[in-house]
Amino acid sequence: MKVPVKWLNEFIDTGLSPAELAHRLTMAGLEAEKITTIGAEWDKVFVGYVESVARHPDADRLVLATVDAGEHRLTVVTGAPNIAEGQLVPLALAGARLIDGHSEGQVYKTLKPGMIRGVRSEGMVCSEKELGLSDEHEGILVLEETAPKGAPLVEWLGDTVIEFEITPNLVHDFSILGIAREASALTDRPLTLPPSFDLDRAPVAAEDLVTIEAPDLCARYVAVVIEGVNVGPSPAWMQRRLLAAGVRPINTSVDVTNYVMLEYGQPMHAFDADQLAGGRIIVRRARPGETIETIDHQQRELTREMLLIADAERPIGVAGVMGGTNTEVNDATTRIVLESANFDMTSIRAAARALKLRTDASARFERGLDPNLAREAAARATRLLLELSPGATVTAVADVYPRPRLPRPISLPFSEIERLLGIRFASAQVLEVLQRLGFAPRLEGEGDAMVLHVTVPTWRSDVTLGADIVEEVARIIGYDVLPERLPTGQTAPVHRDPVFALQRQIRSLLTGAGAWETITYVAVGEEDLRRLHPEGALETGLHEVDADALVRMRNPLQADRDILRPTLLPSLLHIAAENLKHERGVRLFELARLYLPGEGELPREVNGLAILLAGARNPLSRFTAGSEQEGDLDFFDLKGMIETMLSRLGVECATFQRIAFAPLHPGRVAGLFIGDRRIGILGELRPDRAAAFGIEAPRVAVAEIDIDALRAAAHPVPADVRVPRFLPVEQDFAIVVTEETPASEVEAALRAGAGPLATAVTLFDVYRGPQIGESRKSLAYRVTFTAPDRALTDTELGKVRDRIARTLRKRVGGELRA
C-alpha cells in the first residue's frame, strides 16, 4: 500500500523524517518496502507565471510564452495546446532532468536551451509525464491558483511515498488512517481526523431503500442518497494524491470513493440512483443463472454462494468486489446512492476467487473489516462529494446494522507477558502502550495474581488472545529490549535420524571417491521418462511404476514437467549433459526422495541415491596424458565406487547379478541385490538413450540405489576387531573356467574352498589365450591367508590348496593352473 507522506501528515504530525517513520513502522510490523520521492529530480523546476503568450513567427502550432518565476524570467517555445496567459505552470530551466515526453516509458534527458524554428527557447513548460507524475502528455500541467509563484516546484508538488507491505492479518492498517494510528501509538503524538459530514442530521431514508436478505453475509449497509452531484474531473489535488497512491483518477464520484477507501480502508461504491429499478437496494445471494456485466465490461456468471447487490429487478453489483455497468455513475448522473457496507470476509474471498477478480475492495473485505467503520467512511465521503459539488444535498441516509459489533474484552494474567517474552515490563508502561494503541486496559489484583483486562477496539479484529496483547506490548516497546538467553530445563531425548546418518556417510564416501553432490528439481516430465523408455512400461529398475499411478502435480511450474520423479536418473542426466559442455568428465550423485504411489493418502517417499559417471576418468595432467589411465569412465569405475561404498557402510551380503533393464546397455547392466531383493541397478546407458539426453560421451555409467533398503543391510562398526599378530601368507591361484562362468561364482567357490583362513581374495588378472584353450579364461587371484592364533605351515596350506582345487572343480568346473 502506497502512502503519500503529505496525506498522512494531515492525520498526524509525527515529527519524524519519512525514512525514520518508515523504519519505526517497519520494526513494529508494517514493513516499508520502498520509499520514493516525487520531485527528487526537480531541482531546476519552478512555479512559473505565464505573463504572455505570443504566436511563433514561423510555426502555426507553436507559441512563445513568457514565463516569470521570480528570479528567472524566460521565453520558451512550446506546442502545448492548453497554455494561456495568467496560468501558473511548472517551468524547467536549462540543465533540468526531465522525462522525455515523446519516448515510451521513463527516459530521462537533460534540458538544453535551443533554437526552435528560429526562435531561442531558454527553458520548458512541463507536462505531467515530463515531471514523472503520470503518463499525461497532451498538454502542460496547470497548477492551482494558490501555487506560490517562483517557488521550487518540489515545495508545492513534491512528496514522499512510502510503500508498505501489509501482512494478511492486518486490516486496520490497510488505510492512511490505520497507519496514522500506528504512527500515533509509536510516537505518542495525537491523531487528527479529517472533516466529515454529520449523517445524523440528514433525513432518514424510507425503510425499504435498503433490504438485507442475507444478514449472515452483510453485517451492515449504509446508503447515502445525494442529489445535485456534479460528475466531472476531480480537482488536481485529489487526482495527484490518488496517483501518488497508485490509483487512477476517473471522475469525482469514483475518485471520492477511492480516496476515502485509501483514507479509511472502507471500500465504497456509488450507484446512479436514477438507474435503480424500484429505487431500492437489496443485498442477497445470487440466483441460479443470474449474470451481471461488471464495470470492467466483463459478463460475469454468478453462483448461489455469491453475495449480490440488486435493485428491485436485477443484480447491480457483486458485493464487495465490483459494481455493475447498469447503474454506473456517468457524466449525466446527478443523483447517486453511496454504498458503505460490511460484507463477510469468507464470502467475498470466495467470490473474488471464483470470478478471478481481485480488486482493492475485495482485498480489504477478505481480511475482515470493522462494521463500525462503514458509517464513519460514508460521512467522510459525503463531505467530500458535497465539497466537490457545490449545491448538492443529502436527501436520505439508510443504515441497516442489526447487530452492532462491540469492543472485545480480553483478560490475561499480567505474568503472561513475562512468560512469553522472558522480560518483565512495569505495569505502568504496559498500560500506557495499550492506551496509545486505542485499547482500554485495566489491572486487577496484586503481585502474581495480577490480571490485565483489555478492551480491544473493534477495528483490531486481529487481536483476540492474550498472546496478541503480549505482541502489541512487545512491538510497540520494541524487541531490541529482549535479552538473549538459551533454553533451560530438561533436554529432549537423544535420537539420531538413521537415514540422515547414512546419507552423511554416503556423501562423505562418494565425495572422497571424487564425486560431486548435486541437488536437482523433483519434477520430471513424461518426456524425460520416455527418453529412458521410448516404448513400453515406464519401469525404474527398482520400483514398479505404472504410468497412470505416477504422482503428479496439479499446477506444475512447467506444464510438461508435472511428475514427482519416481527415479533420480533423468534429473542427473540433464545435469551431466549441461556440465559435459565444459567438463572432460563428470562424477555426480544425488541423495533425494523418490515419489511412488502410496497406500495411505500420501505417496510413498523413498530415499534414493543416484550416481552418474561419464567422460574422462582423470583430469588432464602430465601424468595421464597418453598413458593407460587416460580412458573413459565406465561400468567398472562405477561398480568399484559402489563396492567401496558398500564395504565402508558394512554391507557385506550384497551381490551383483546380471539383469535386464531396457535403458541400459544389455551387456553392461547389473542389479545390486541383498538376498533376493533388488535394491539397486547399475550399468552403462545405451548410447541411443544417452543421446536422447544430449550426452555424447562414449560411456555413461549410472546407478540408482534404494538407500532405505540399504540401511537395513548396513552394519556400522564390527564387533570383533583384532590386532593381527602373525604374518600373512599370500598365494596365487590361476583358475581356468569356461568363458560363460561368472567371475562372482568362481570367487565364491574359491572362498568356500579356502575357508576362514582366507582373509582377502583379490582378482588381479583375467587371461585368455592359446595356452588355456578356446572359449576358456583364466582368472588369477591372490589369496591372503591369516590365522589369528598361529603362523600357518606349508602342510596346512597344502591341505587348503587341495580343498580349493576340489571345490572349484565341483562348483564351477574350474582347474587350477600350475
Binding site: 501482512t167 470476509m345 517474552l421 553432490e517
Partner: protein
C-alpha cells in the same frame, strides 16, 4: 729381473695398491681393485698363501708384513669405498632431482552440495544446543501444511504460500514450508521438544534470481514449560555467531506468521560492514534470515498441548539464503543448476 725379497714385494704391492686405489674414480673401479688385491685370487691373498714357499727364516717377517698389508689395504679400501659410495649416492640423487614447481599428481576429490553442507553445519550447531534433527514428508496434507498451523482454508493468510497441489484425492500439497513437522513432532512426543527439521520446500513461484519453486528450509521448534522469546533470541544469536562470526547481533522485527504469536522476522547484522550499511545488506546494515516467534496457542492446542502450561518457540530459515549471505551468491537458481564450476568454489573442508 732380480728376485725381490718378501719385504720388497710387500712394499711394491702397497705402493701400487694405494696408488691404484687413489686413482679409482668409481664404485665399480673400487670393487675391481678390491678383487685385484684383496679378493680370493688377489695379490695380497696370493702373497700370504705363498708364504710357505719362502725360506723359513724369511717367513715370520713376510707373514707379519703381509698381514699388516692386508689390514692396511682393507682399511684403505673401506675408506675409499665409503667415499665413493657416498659420492655415488649423491650423484644418483642429483640425477633424480625434479622441478619441484611442477604440479603434483592430482587427487580427485568431489564435494558435498553447498546446501547439504549448510544443513549439516546447522544440524551440528543445533545438536550442540540439544536439538534433534528430524525429517518429514515432502508431499503433505493440507491438514498438516495449513490447518494444524492455524492457517484456515478461507483465510487470506493461506495466499501467502503459493501452493503446488498434488493430484491425489483430498487436499494434498507439496509442502510450502518445513513447519508441518511442528505438529507431526508434537503429536508424537510429550514436551520437552527440541527439534530442527531441514528439507526441501516448494512454492508455486516463477523463478528469478531471488525466487525458486524449490528450495530448502530449516525449521526449529522448542516447547517446554517456560520457553520464552528471550530463549528464541539467544538460540538464533548463537546460530548466527557460529555461522557468521562471534560478534554478530540478532534483530527481531514484528511480522506475521499465523502459527506464531508474537511473530517476528529475524535479521543478523551484516558481517561485511558490521551493520553500517553496504552493498551486500543493501545499505540497511541487516540481513533478513527468516521468520520466528512463540508457537501460537491454537497450534499447541491442536496437538493436545495445554498452552497455559507449555510455551514454545519456532523459527524457519532459508538454507540457500544462508549460503548466499555467507558466500555472496547472487542467483538462487545456481543451486539447482549444479554447474560444477559453481559447486567447485564451495569445496572447502568444513
Amino acid at each position: 729381473m732380480a728376485t725381490m725379497t718378501a719385504q720388497e714385494t710387500i712394499d711394491d704391492i702397497r705402493q701400487r695398491a694405494l696408488a691404484q686405489l687413489d686413482a679409482a674414480a668409481t664404485l665399480d673401479e673400487a670393487i675391481a681393485w678390491e678383487r685385484e688385491f684383496l679378493g680370493s685370487r688377489g695379490e695380497v691373498t696370493l702373497f700370504l698363501r705363498g708364504l710357505s714357499a719362502l725360506p723359513p727364516e724369511e717367513r715370520p717377517v713376510a707373514g707379519r708384513g703381509g698381514n699388516a698389508l692386508k689390514q692396511e689395504l682393507g682399511a684403505a679400501w673401506e675408506r675409499r669405498h665409503a667415499e665413493l659410495a657416498s659420492a655415488d649416492l649423491e650423484r644418483r640423487l642429483a640425477d633424480d632431482a625434479v622441478d619441484v614447481t611442477l604440479p603434483g599428481r592430482p587427487t580427485d576429490l568431489g564435494a558435498a552440495h553447498p546446501v547439504s553442507e549448510m544443513i549439516d553445519e546447522l544440524s551440528e550447531i543445533f545438536a550442540l544446543l540439544g536439538f534433534q534433527t528430524v525429517f518429514g514428508p515432502e508431499v503433505e496434507t493440507a491438514h498438516y501444511n495449513f490447518d494444524q498451523l492455524n492457517i484456515p482454508s478461507e483465510h487470506p493468510a493461506r495466499d501467502v504460500w503459493d501452493t503446488i497441489h498434488v493430484d491425489l484425492p483430498g487436499e494434498i500439497v507439496l509442502r510450502t514450508h518445513t513447519s508441518p513437522m511442528q505438529a507431526r513432532v508434537m503429536e508424537q512426543t510429550e514436551p520437552p521438544v527440541r527439534v530442527v527439521v531441514p528439507g526441501r520446500v516448494y512454492r508455486y513461484e516463477a523463478q528469478d534470481a531471488s525466487h525458486e519453486w524449490m528450495f530448502h528450509q530449516l525449521e526449529g521448534l522448542a516447547v517446554d514449560r517456560n520457553i520464552t522469546m528471550a530463549d528464541l533470541k539467544g538460540t538464533l544469536a548463537e546460530m548466527a555467531r557460529q555461522l557468521f562470526g562471534a560478534e554478530r547481533r540478532i534483530r527481531f522485527r514484528c511480522d506475521f506468521f499465523p502459527f506464531v504469536e508474537p511473530g517476528v522476522d529475524f535479521a543478523v547484522d551484516c558481517a561485511l560492514c558490521s551493520g553500517k550499511g553496504c552493498r551486500v545488506c543493501k545499505g540497511s546494515g541487516w540481513l533478513e534470515m527468516g521468520g520466528a516467534g512463540m508457537v501460537h496457542p491454537n497450534v499447541l492446542r491442536a496437538v493436545g498441548y495445554d498452552p497455559e502450561v507449555y510455551s514454545g518457540f519456532a523459527f524457519g530459515l532459508g538454507v540457500e539464503r544462508l549460503v548466499m549471505m555467507r558466500s555472496g551468491v547472487d542467483d538462487l537458481r545456481a543451486f539447482a543448476g549444479n554447474d560444477l564450476r559453481f559447486l567447485r568454489q564451495f569445496a572447502r573442508a568444513a
